[in-house]
């Protein structure tokens, strides 16, 4: 088990709702952004003079721009239905990690400055002035929310705490109190083109390496092209896919599927990142600016289609926002949805029968699937509502013989966050990441014990990175986590590939 200087939650057979322990994680703060990181995004370098008034002013501006914020701050009846739905509350017992209490950190200030009741009867309605203490709480607890939207599924008015966290982070950024992790990364995207700061030549090297690996393994020349003008498809994928395990095995898989489908595709140096941390910090402007890179790359390369790789929040931005932020996409081929998810593409090819699949190549695994929150609750795949659940499972089942789902209270739209989403995937927040993973770990451990599950597949770079880090804290192997396209890659037999396939071919005409 990995060592930690905090207590690792004990996994129970049946999930328990812990009693409240006020202040349990109040002191858990991620590093504050340095002035130069703030500058790069157009935010003040440090806490500005008169930050109280400025914060209230920005709050007022956001209230006028976002109906969600205005309606959500007014409508909560404190029914408590959401109080036991957040993985961070379940893992930490800190009541301010209950979604409604997290919202209340902002709502009590909203009431004080923007509502009649709060102006004249603050005590009665729990309104408070914005002071340093409140700001401290904001910084702590709005960076202990992964914006996973699980609470919004269960709230009778659909109040989405993610919207509130985004607004709070935007206000804090604008008064000079940004978070290092998110803001530093956005700076890298602007400067270099991706979150990891991988420059063009490094990408080229990596991709050549992949081509060699695949050739050594299969004897087939599968291409992983970069900046290829005139290609049909632009693939936009999270930069972790270029080197981290198990992400890169997914990228290998995308390439194999494109190869078999006979698709002329390319990656782009300037849009070598699907992630869009502008969403995490609630900044429309930054989210838009990051999205525009994809439009520019698509225009420059002259592609006809855009396909996104496995990444949760990137898919949310792509599916739900890209048309708004960087559209209209009238220069692309109308026959394909814009944008498309790699799983939609692969599932289409599987249905068409373009892929030669030997499921038994994955027989060493019993696989379960982790629904990523942003895919599950903030986007879709395919034409039907719920396609985001069926398509990944269909693909997994088409390439694996052994698939088991986890407890239905922890999958589909009720899925639990991995614990590292929403801008929390940083070492300075390791404690909250480990604790927040508890509900998922519980469900996973149950299927391990009951069904002998060996691997958990995911379709999100953050989930994959988070689980790789966190599984060992719970005594589980970090290599349990696999990419869905890694499973595809394992099972696809390329045209012309030399294998002992001949016997196994008949097994899976399906």
């Amino acid at each position: 088990m990995a060592k930690a200087d905090f207590e690792i939650p004990e996994l129970k057979e049946y999930p328990e709702i812990p009693p409240v322990q006020p202040g349990a994680t109040a002191g858990l703060k991620s590093f504050v952004a340095k002035p130069e990181m703030q500058d790069a995004l157009g935010f003040p370098g440090e806490l500005v003079d008169g930050w109280q008034e400025k914060a209230i002013e920005h709050m007022g501006e956001l209230l006028g721009k976002y109906r969600s914020l205005q309606v959500f701050l007014d409508s909560c009846v404190k029914c408590g239905a959401c109080t036991d739905k957040c993985h961070y509350y379940l893992g930490t017992s800190d009541p301010k990690n209950m979604p409604v209490a997290r919202q209340d950190l902002l709502r009590k200030v909203y009431r004080r400055y923007f509502t009649f009741a709060g102006k004249y009867f603050p005590k009665l309605v729990g309104a408070t002035d914005l002071n340093k203490e409140v700001l401290d709480d904001w910084y702590s607890y709005f960076h202990q929310c992964s914006q996973c939207r699980r609470c919004s599924v269960f709230c009778p008015y659909g109040i989405d705490t993610a919207e509130i966290s985004m607004a709070a982070r935007e206000i804090m950024d604008r008064i000079g109190l940004g978070q290092k992790y998110c803001n530093e990364i956005i700076g890298k995207v602007y400067k270099i083109g991706n979150n990891l700061g991988l420059p063009g030549p490094a990408l080229e090297d990596t991709l050549e390496g992949l081509e060699e690996d695949v050739f050594d393994e299969t004897g087939v020349e599968v291409k992983y092209p970069l900046d290829k003008k005139g290609a049909d498809v632009l693939l936009v994928t999270p930069s972790a896919d270029f080197f981290a395990e198990p992400h890169v095995d997914g990228l290998i898989g995308y390439g194999k599927v494109f190869h078999e489908a006979g698709i002329d595709w390319t990656l782009s140096t300037t849009a070598s990142e699907a992630a869009n941390f502008g969403m995490f910090i609630g900044s429309y402007e930054n989210m838009r600016k990051i999205s525009m890179r994809i439009r520019e790359a698509a225009l420059e390369l002259g592609v006809k289609r855009i396909i996104f790789g496995e990444c949760g929040h990137a898919w949310r931005v792509a599916y739900s926002f890209l048309n708004t932020l960087a559209g209209p996409w009238d220069f692309l081929d109308k026959n394909y949805p814009m944008p498309q998810h790699i799983l939609e593409f692969t599932w289409g090819e599987i249905q068409k029968g373009t892929l030669n699949i030997d499921k038994s190549l994955n027989d060493d695994m019993v696989v379960t699937f982790h629904d990523s929150c942003n895919v599950a609750r903030a986007s879709r795949m395919g034409d039907e509502p719920g396609g985001q659940f069926t398509i990944p499972r269909n693909v997994i089942k088409a390439v694996c013989n052994n698939f088991v789902d986890m407890d239905p209270d922890t999958t589909h739209e009720k899925t639990f966050c991995c614990g590292g989403g929403g801008g929390l995937l940083t070492d300075d927040l390791m404690e909250i990441r480990v604790k927040g993973a508890k509900p998922r770990m519980e469900a996973l451990r149950n299927v391990i014990e009951e069904h002998g599950v060996t691997n958990m597949a995911a379709i999100c770079a953050i989930c994959k990175a988070q689980f790789t880090k966190v599984l060992p804290y719970y005594g589980l192997g970090m290599d349990m986590i696999v990419s869905v396209h890694q499973l595809v890659s394992n099972a696809v037999i390329l045209t012309g590939q030399q294998t002992e396939e001949d016997e196994s071919k008949e097994d899976d005409a399906a």
């Binding site: 409508s75 408590g80 009741a117 269960f154 048309n323 708004t324 719920g386």
Partner: protein, 245 residues
Amino acid sequence: MSFLTVTFAALYYAATVLLVVGLARRIRLYWKTPAPLKIPTTPAPTSTGGVVMRMFREVVFFESLFKSTKWTWLFGWLFHLGLFAVLFRHLRYFQEPVWAPVVWVSPLFKYLAFAMIIGLLGLLARRLFVDRVRYISAPSDFLMLFLLIGIGATGALTTFVTHTDVVAVKSFFRHLMTFNFDTMPNVPTDPLMVAHLGLVVVLMIVFPISKLLHAPGVFFSPTRNQVDNPREQRHIADWARKLEQ
């Protein structure tokens, strides 16, 4: 006219103005505030018809709450069911002639006052005894429950135990509604009815400045009222369009 009658007349006029103007302004605000991004909680309907159905299930059955906690759902739903049944029955104090369906259901619906009160007591118990819900409760959250329990209890006691001069009450409100002050009768002075009418004034005044805004709010919630079609249709707010120039 008695002092009480004049006071109530003045209070009801004032409360009605505050309620109507307050609510109208709030609804206008929700209406006018743009929703710049598509944020329905998915899986979400892909057509307007689907959204209407989703909203119907939320408003009538509290679908999400049902998924969430059965006890809160049970008490909450009983309370609202009772509330709307009672309010429907109350139409007979304001209509002349009374709408036929109101007459038909009146004898039956009066028992739903108990559903309302039991629901409210259940919600109160939850607020008191579940540590998480107690933690998030402000004094106003308790007061709101006390207010409604007060209205329900005074009403039910009048209906089932002490009785009041319903004809006089109705006549008083009809006169108020038609701005006819000449033949206005006095409101009954039995303490229960006075308390009932007094508490209702308070409810009307606090409605547009409290969490009771959840009633209009639910219809404006973007996570529930948006169609899931962002790939098919571009969805852009005016302030966001300006960034494109």
